[in-house]
């Protein structure tokens, strides 16, 4: 039923697109996503994969071509990262707003400047309000399975929204892991041919997304919010049905670890959650009843799950790999907002791993222990921050200029 593959997450994502029988791929290469689309074009040129590859001139056009393909009634796929995602931002709103099902893989990479190709979650978190469903993976197997499931979710008639499957740059995109790949006929049993609620039709011409006046606009936005809400159930059902047919399961909106008797809980997204798992083991061996929640679906946000699981715990530590400048950790703000009034837990926030900085389980364990013992402030901390003279690059580089201009 399955065959075993040792591959990078990028190539695994390409396999997922192939198994989902995508009909159009439009993409523009960007580090660290490039191998996804290289592998897809190789499938087309060497392995007879029946798919139209559109080599567009920019990410803005990549998303425009995706919109065109989905509006013409075919299954579309793309992959991007970081600045590529930012460049398509306007069209992300379009794809979701006119309700087109499609799936895009985003390899989470830091935003410039400073120019940085390594991992953090700033790119997709900045696109969280576009109406796209966002699933974050923490293993190669999950990339494969989530991408296939994403088409089911996206094309569910109660949802009809685009889905973004996100995974960490380099930590996943370029590392090799073992993956069990299901046979095409098995995937076909799980994923029916493309279906949607509308497509362009010569016999019934219309303009979609045209002018709408203040009296009706809110209803359109509310409908998107309702679709996100519907997706909560659909994501769960897809995960469960996938387990029944294919055999793999990675949690639904959240994935949990050692939560049963946990009083202190780490909440994380992506590969940091795998690191935190080790920290949880470490803390448990020191006698602290700790557990872990990994948020898989960031949009829709797992509101009920978090309220339910965090209502009676004492400590909540949220690990963020992105910043909303002016408030702090993004996931932290949201977790705190969601459990407000339902939980008396002390809440803590670590911002770590920006721009690919290594995050060690030892740090997570150390800060968790400090939080449990009341030695950490209930606010956002940057555990790896070390502003030294070495980091004052601007001062070193600009001193001469500042003197000349009278700044100093």
């Amino acid at each position: 039923m399955t065959w075993r593959l040792v591959e990078t997450a990028n190539h695994v994502a390409a396999h997922a697109a192939r198994l989902s029988r995508v009909e159009v791929v439009s993409a523009y290469p960007i580090t660290p996503q490039t191998q996804v689309i290289e592998e897809i074009s190789r499938f087309i040129s060497e392995e007879g994969f029946d798919c139209e590859y559109i080599p567009v001139e920019s990410e803005h056009s990549a998303m425009a071509a995706m919109i065109g393909a989905a509006a013409a009634g075919v299954r579309a796929f793309s992959a991007t990262a970081s600045h590529g995602l930012a460049y398509m931002h306007e069209l992300l709103h379009w794809a979701a707003g006119i309700r087109l099902p499609m799936v895009m893989v985003n390899v989470n990479r830091a935003m410039g400047p400073g120019w940085n190709i390594w991992c953090d979650h700033q790119d997709t978190m900045a696109a969280r309000d576009t109406g796209w469903i966002q699933l974050y993976c923490s293993s190669h197997q999950e990339v494969l399975d989530s991408t296939i499931q994403a088409y089911r979710i996206s094309e569910d008639l109660k949802v009809i929204l685009p889905v973004m499957v996100c995974y960490d740059a380099f930590r996943m995109s370029h590392t090799y892991m073992q993956v069990d790949v299901p046979e095409q006929e098995v995937v076909d049993r799980f994923l029916p041919p493309f279906r949607t609620l509308w497509k362009m039709d010569l016999e019934h011409p219309f303009t979609h997304g045209s002018v709408i006046y203040p009296n009706d606009y809110e209803e359109v936005r509310f409908s998107m919010e309702q679709a996100q809400h519907n997706a909560r159930k659909v994501i769960k059902n897809a995960a469960e049905e996938y387990r029944d047919i294919v055999g793999e399961y990675h949690g639904d909106l959240i994935d949990t670890y050692a939560l049963e008797d946990a009083e202190h809980v780490v909440v994380a997204v992506g590969t940091i959650a795998s690191e935190a798992r080790v920290a949880v083991d470490e803390l448990r061996s020191s006698g602290y009843p700790c557990g872990l929640i990994r948020i898989r679906s960031f949009r829709p946000f797992p509101i009920e799950e978090l309220r339910d699981l965090l209502s009676s715990v004492r400590t909540v530590m949220v690990l963020d790999r992105a910043v909303s400048f002016g408030i702090g950790g993004i996931v932290y703000s949201e977790v705190k907002a969601v459990i407000c009034g339902c939980s008396d837990a002390s809440t803590f926030n670590l911002i770590a791993g920006l721009g690919g900085k290594d995050v060690a389980y030892t740090m997570i364990a150390e800060y968790m222990e400090a939080a449990i013992k009341g030695r950490l402030k209930q606010e956002t901390s940057w555990p790896y921050l070390q502003l030294t003279d070495h980091h004052m690059v601007s001062k070193r580089g600009l001193e001469g200029f500042w003197k000349k201009e009278g700044v100093l």
Binding site: R99, K158, P205, F206, T207, H208, S210, E219, S223, H229
Partner: protein, 96 residues
């Protein structure tokens, strides 16, 4: 026009609220009132090549090259495209 297929009941109904406009004559009113210059056809020069019919963005030139002045905005594309210069744009005197 907004399509409202959904009922209040959450999570059960299929469909979504969106904005669709279906092509319909005069759906945005009498756009001819926007006109400043009016196309005037010279019957002698016209050889019925129909380029004006093809190019008119408002589809208000018929195949008999009759211009529907209810919707002609006076954009002048027909005059620009006419290879025989059979259409000229003339400042229109507005009737009060």
């Amino acid at each position: 026009m907004p399509q409202k297929k959904q009922k209040k009941k959450e999570g059960e109904e299929i469909g979504f609220v969106t904005t669709l406009s279906v092509p319909l004559e005069g759906s945005v009113g009498l756009t001819g009132s926007w006109r400043i210059f009016i196309p005037v056809k010279d019957e002698e020069k016209c050889n019925n090549c129909l380029l004006c019919w093809i190019y008119c963005p408002e589809a208000c030139i018929s195949k008999d090259i009759e211009i529907n002045f209810d919707y002609c905005k006076g954009c002048g594309i027909c005059a620009e495209e006419c290879p025989r210069k059979a259409i000229t744009m003339v400042k229109e005197e507005k009737q009060e």
